[in-house]
Symmetry: C2
Subunit: 301 residues, 2 copies
């Protein structure tokens, strides 16, 4: 699956290359160029409602074979940096995501186990899980951890990251979600032992009651490729890859150069990690009950 | 597009070959065998809620590239043969069709312009068009005409069929429908002049305010192929083909024989008429306004 719901980070990157604030159309064009070149290679594309979701459908550039997952949240967070509170995007939600013909909804959730706002964040997951169930939409939750105090500068956060990611899976996966989009449970800038990474992923697999996939968080592609292989061998069902696939495009000066890059290098990257996921990943239906259809199902549906 | 929503006719045909009433599973198996072999070749599959729609999804046999259209109506009609009244299937409707992830809804509508029940039938179209619009579902209407008095036995119906099909398009296409699934506007058992057929199709094209496609109504495939070509040259946007593609399968004794037939002869037939539609058909967006997406669309959607 490809992630294309970035807003803040993409705006910042495009501003750098354009030397001005990106317009609405700059943002849409970037996302549509990826849809045009990558959606036929992806099981699904994740898009935001502002710049991508409806635009991808109306443009005809979203491949018919690609699922569509649309994000639910407002970008950023409320609260303070040590107690981050995720918010739903206003005037949006599961009912509109279903109505527009999408297949799933995704929530990016800032989450640090044990902090004061953690129960409130879990309540949001429960509420949106119910909204998605009412619409029969697949619900993908992407928890993103964060450091407290001086953990970021001292390296303390890297040391506890595996435990945070694993505890987060334990807290969130039983709440009625369909897919956990997990961070890789190690900081690959610090942890270089792949056996340890595999062990962390095994613990994550045991902790998650839902099928899980890994996110890319903008690491270099060569690292992400290793992460996909390790995670899938440990029980992951694939990946939801964003900037790791295409981040170099945000330094390219022309749209033509960017499209060329998407349709060559990025397609090759996507095929490579898709092959790893297909070879080593656990099918989602081995982690969750497949739906059963009985005679007369439609009347009580 | 392939039509697979038959119920009465399929039950009757299967009964003949099985020498017993077909079971629920017999019906499901027949439809799933077609999904397995034809959905990757079709822009969409039309299925009924009883035996096909959810079953095709849960089985994993519906190709990801295929759209799914689900029928709304109860089979058959109320009223009498000269004043046929279509009914919605109980405990079903546009909201459930949207919720299950389908792309469109279809209504088979018995319709004879000018009869007493005609206004009531048009009211049903208006009501279901509103239901589908509320769900942003494509609404396909399939009007099927019928004879009065001795028109069937005297050949009178064949003589007026072009006028009936054309007037029906004029009556129904302005009522908020997205696709008109029209009968071929001539009885090909009687009318042999292809120039006349083309003229009838041109008049149908002028009469229809919505994109239109033709249905197959179980004519021989060789005839249906001619109908698709003539209709598409006259302005049709394609076909929704049912029994004309696969009717011989209902006389085959074994499931293996049937699957072999679907995956060879029927696939070839579908590719042939798809090539005709692609070569000669009018894209739907030339007959109707494509949706436009403006900045901030999601808030007012």
């Amino acid at each position: 699956m490809c992630a294309l719901d970035h807003r803040g980070s993409l705006q910042k990157m495009l501003k750098g290359v354009l030397d001005r604030e990106p317009t609405y159309q700059d943002m849409v064009d970037f996302k549509l160029d990826i849809c045009r070149t990558l959606s036929s290679e992806s099981s699904a594309i994740l898009l935001d409602p502002l710049f991508g979701a409806a635009q991808s459908i109306a443009s005809g550039l979203l491949a018919g074979s690609s699922g569509l997952v649309v994000s639910l949240e407002e970008t950023g967070y409320a609260g303070d940096a040590e107690g981050r509170i995720s918010r739903e995007l206003s005037d949006w939600g599961a009912a509109k995501i279903r109505r527009m013909g999408a297949d799933g909804a995704k929530l990016l959730l800032y989450y640090r186990p044990g902090v004061d706002v953690a129960p409130r964040q879990l309540d949001l997951v429960r509420k949106l899980a119910a909204d998605c169930a009412a619409q029969d939409l697949a619900f993908v939750v992407e928890p993103v951890g964060y450091p407290l105090g001086d953990e970021a500068s001292t390296g303390g956060y890297a040391a506890i990251k595996p435990d945070i990611v694993i505890q987060t899976a334990r807290d969130i996966s039983p709440l009625g979600i369909d897919v956990l989009k997990a961070e890789f449970p190690a900081d690959v800038k610090v942890e270089k032992d792949e056996n340890k990474m595999f062990e962390f992923c095994k613990r994550l697999d045991e902790a998650s009651q839902a099928p899980w996939i890994i996110l890319s968080a903008g690491v270099d592609f060569s690292w992400f490729q290793r992460e996909v292989e390790i995670a899938c061998k440990a029980g992951a069902s694939g990946f939801l890859a964003g900037r790791a696939l295409w981040q170099e495009a945000t330094t390219m000066k022309t749209r033509a150069e960017r499209v060329e890059f998407f349709s060559t290098t990025v397609v090759q990257r996507l095929r490579l990690i898709s092959a790893l996921a297909n070879a080593y990943g656990t099918p989602w239906y081995k982690k969750t009950a497949a739906p059963s259809v009985v005679e007369g199902w439609y009347a009580s549906y």
